[in-house]
Amino acid sequence: MTAPVAGTPIQSMVLVGIASVIGSFGALFLKTGSAKLNRGLRYLFLNGQLALGVALFVASSLAYVVGLRHGELSVLYPLVSLGYIWALLWAALFLKEPITRNKVYGLLLIVLGIVLIGVGKS
């Protein structure tokens, strides 16, 4: 058994950050896949982009669980909200969704919150 770590190691935070990036690509492919759902639910399982989206969510969960092995949940769980930042970037880059003022303010608040939690970690 490895000795329990009192604080939250940087490696754990990086793993959860990687999980958030993988998960944001999962959301992107679910979105592009869902646009091709007009042929009915029977095709749900034949949709390559939806399958890729789900696979990326599974991969993201794996990275997340490994990241959670050591460290504080009260620090690592809020890091998941990094995913909102990546998702907004991909939505703007690949889907040409508009970046509204609310989205920018929301993201800035999330980043500030993550920084504060990073300061508070033991």
Partner: protein, 144 residues
């Protein structure tokens, strides 16, 4: 396909009120937070000394996670949460429903302090509140 069939006799579904939809999302936040507690417990208890650098090691790691009751329970709660969330979304706008989800951050912070004895301090409390506000503002992103 012929669409000349007799008029449909499927009864009209009664839409949920805004209060009911938000109530469902509130239940989602509780399910999501409980899921996180189980996932954290499962992550700790499923940790193996097996390396990630060999195929056998990777397999041992993945197998330990796949059979861990806490991880299974935690992700089952997530699946349940997703179903409840879809019902909440059916009759209500995403921009109304989604910000409520950020309450999960508050429950997770409270539960990890209570159950795992994690430290409480001002930056952490402020950080969670600022993220909740941020997700709230982001959820209204569609509005100009």
């Amino acid at each position: 396909m012929s669409s000349t069939a007799s008029p449909s006799v499927v009864p009209e579904r009664k839409a949920l009120t805004r209060r009911q939809s938000i109530g469902l999302v509130f239940i989602c936040t509780l399910l999501g937070a409980a899921g996180q507690i189980f996932i954290k417990t499962g992550a700790t208890t499923s940790a193996t000394a097996a390396p990630w650098t060999t195929l056998a090691g990777i397999w041992a790691n993945l197998y330990a996670m796949a059979i861990n009751p806490n991880l299974i329970g935690g992700y089952a709660l997530y699946a349940l949460m997703t179903v409840v969330f879809i019902f909440a979304l059916r009759d209500e706008e995403l921009s109304v429903v989604y910000p409520v989800i950020s309450l999960t951050y508050v429950w997770v912070a409270g539960l990890s302090i209570w159950l795992f004895g994690e430290t409480v301090n001002l930056p952490k409390i402020l950080g969670v509140l600022v993220i909740v506000a941020g997700v709230g503002v982001l959820g209204m992103g569609g509005r100009k």
